[in-house]
Symmetry: C2
Subunit: 369 residues, 2 copies
């Protein structure tokens, strides 16, 4: 079931039911504008990653500021965006299920949809789905630029796959997917620089070999919130796929020289227990409300309080040099990792000046398939 | 949005769309029956924990086998169960929000609902909600039996709170909540025995003091899948709150002398990439599909394959002494932790003999408030 909204417009933030996903609209808009301003004078465009926000509303706000489209990781996310008015979508991931490919091709009437490929065996599956839908599907070749996850090797293997795609009657070679996921959270700037330096070398080499074979490469896509300045420096990437920049999280905050965006995403939580004489308190948000894959959340704006442990429905709060918070008190937490946190909720509660201004559905919540 | 079901009855399991939550019905029913058989000759009843299964359907199957009711952690879960026909519900957790308490009291027309309390300051809130709803609300006093989370101290503090509840016109002292969450996953049997020994001592002492004050204690609730045999041995607990026994998970499997239930819960996942020459493969289920708070999932029935890393939407598979699985192959994974995994999905896909037999909604998915 869809959960009821935890608030209504006009409420004070402290009246919002908990746990709730709070979007600080001032900080969020500063982030939207900052990315748009940063990209405007470059040759690169923003293709924001909707795996983070899962919202056609937010996609629309990014588009108004110049984004050319959205990335998604899942066909289910592509559907929600297309149904919500997004008309240019890249599945920045491989899809090899015929059922999913039929669903993806069926979105053609609503949006330009493209997908990634990293295996020659997948090409006939893509061709079949596109042929059945009666149109040409853009396919990007994903190259492994150092993350060691998906992707063919840069260079000849990538070129051979691009040629195979280009030779398929219902496919079009859409470009290169060159995202270094592993580099985004490397803590030291020089580690990130080295990783993206290696990625750039792989892209440059592959582009050169594509040119030699007469293949046009319309898109070089990649880069995330942690490294996009480095990709921009190279001039090689045409589309920046940052997602987290709109929200930020505790883990990005742990990067040295962290990205210069504001924290706009919070989970509002309530003190549900404060056992006497223990010097601790318990919040009503555990790891079901705040996934811990990238560490524990931080308490926002309450010096002396620290979130020290998560169980399914409880968060343990250590009280250090502060008064034990009262039963029923509410406080903002900074999620450890924004993407999986957003995916836990059905609603964004947009707040400005201490009041709820809007409710937006997390429309692609749970779209894992 | 509610996600579409990933399957239809009659499909073969390998036709199910991925990632999907698979319930092996044979193993699941063995677990249901085994718990019922174990409790039948004892004085204790099962009040199964719906925080694990989030399903009125499964609650109904437990009831048919003798369960007296269900536990939940959240008011939202209580609502879904009551709306789905469950007529005896204990919120085995504290609720201190007036809004939530009004919602809880409003369920009175459908179900006997009780809730826990661990603070004198909360009693007026409970009284007010019950009075407004015009009925008497059963309230259990939670005592901290060693988990160090919620709960008043056993003994005099618990008795004073029970007296305060009993003296409130619209409240009824329902008993003691005595759950040792921290003991369930202690690896060595003697550690678990020591923990529950301490919990039993706390319960015994508090019961004795309640008796001295003339307070009847209708329920002593607690125990989980990892320790319930130990609580049963003491004869003190009247209600066993095990939840995970219906499914099991990788983390319970790591307990020495692990509980004797079968693995019935799986996530079906597909190989979406198998980069040539790397000896690894990538699955379409990362930590959004398989929360990692209690460790990584295990690959089921495929020796030589190991799930070694989760990112948001990808699972890295190491291939050790096995053939690299083919692109598109599907395989079952054992979740690291069943509770948060179930809460990621909208549907159970019930499978028997390789075929989909039923679809059940994870009706209280996301009910965090």
């Amino acid at each position: 079931m869809l959960q009821r909204p935890p608030a209504e417009p006009g409420m004070r933030e402290d009246e919002v039911d908990t746990p709730a996903l709070i979007l600080d609209l001032d900080a969020f808009e500063v982030n939207l504008d900052a990315m748009a301003a940063r990209l405007a004078p470059t040759g690169a465009k923003l293709r924001a990653h909707a795996k983070t926000h899962k919202s056609p509303v937010i996609a629309g706000l990014q588009r108004r500021r110049g984004a050319v489209g959205q990335c998604v990781q899942k066909v289910g996310e592509a559907e929600i965006l297309a149904w919500g008015g997004v008309d240019d979508i890249l599945v920045s991931n491989e899809v090899v299920s015929p059922l999913k490919l039929r669903r993806l091709a069926a979105l053609n009437a609503l949006a330009r949809v493209q997908v990634c490929c990293d295996a020659p065996e997948a090409v006939p599956l893509l061709e079949e789905a596109a042929a059945a839908a009666g149109h040409r599907l853009g396919v990007l070749v994903e190259i492994d630029v150092g993350a060691g996850r998906c992707g063919v090797a840069p260079g000849p293997e990538a070129v051979a796959l691009a040629e195979r795609i280009a030779a398929s009657p219902h496919l079009r070679f859409g470009g290169l997917q060159a995202y270094h996921g592993g580099a985004q959270h490397r803590r030291r700037p020089e580690e990130r620089r080295a990783a993206i330096g290696g990625a750039a070398e792989a892209v440059r080499r592959t582009l050169e070999q594509l040119r030699q074979r007469g293949l046009d490469c319309p898109i070089v896509g990649g880069a995330g919130t942690g490294t996009f300045e480095l990709e921009l420096e190279t001039g090689l990437w045409t589309e920046i796929q940052a997602g987290s920049y709109v929200f930020m999280d505790a883990d990005y905050g742990r990067n040295e020289e962290a990205p210069g965006f504001r924290q706009s995403l919070f989970v509002l939580s309530q003190v549900m227990s404060a056992p006497r004489g223990t010097g601790r308190a318990v919040l009503d948000a555990g790891h079901k409300a705040l996934p811990t894959d990238s560490g524990l959340p931080l308490v926002w704006g309450r010096p002396g309080l620290r979130y020290v442990g998560a169980t399914d429905e409880h968060g343990a709060l250590a009280v250090e040099d502060a008064a034990v918070p009262a039963l029923g008190e509410k406080m903002r937490l900074v999620p450890g990792h924004c993407d999986p946190t957003v995916d836990r909720y059905d609603w964004y509660v947009g707040v400005r000046g201490g009041r709820v201004e809007c409710l937006w559905p997390v429309a692609a919540r749970g779209a894992m398939a």
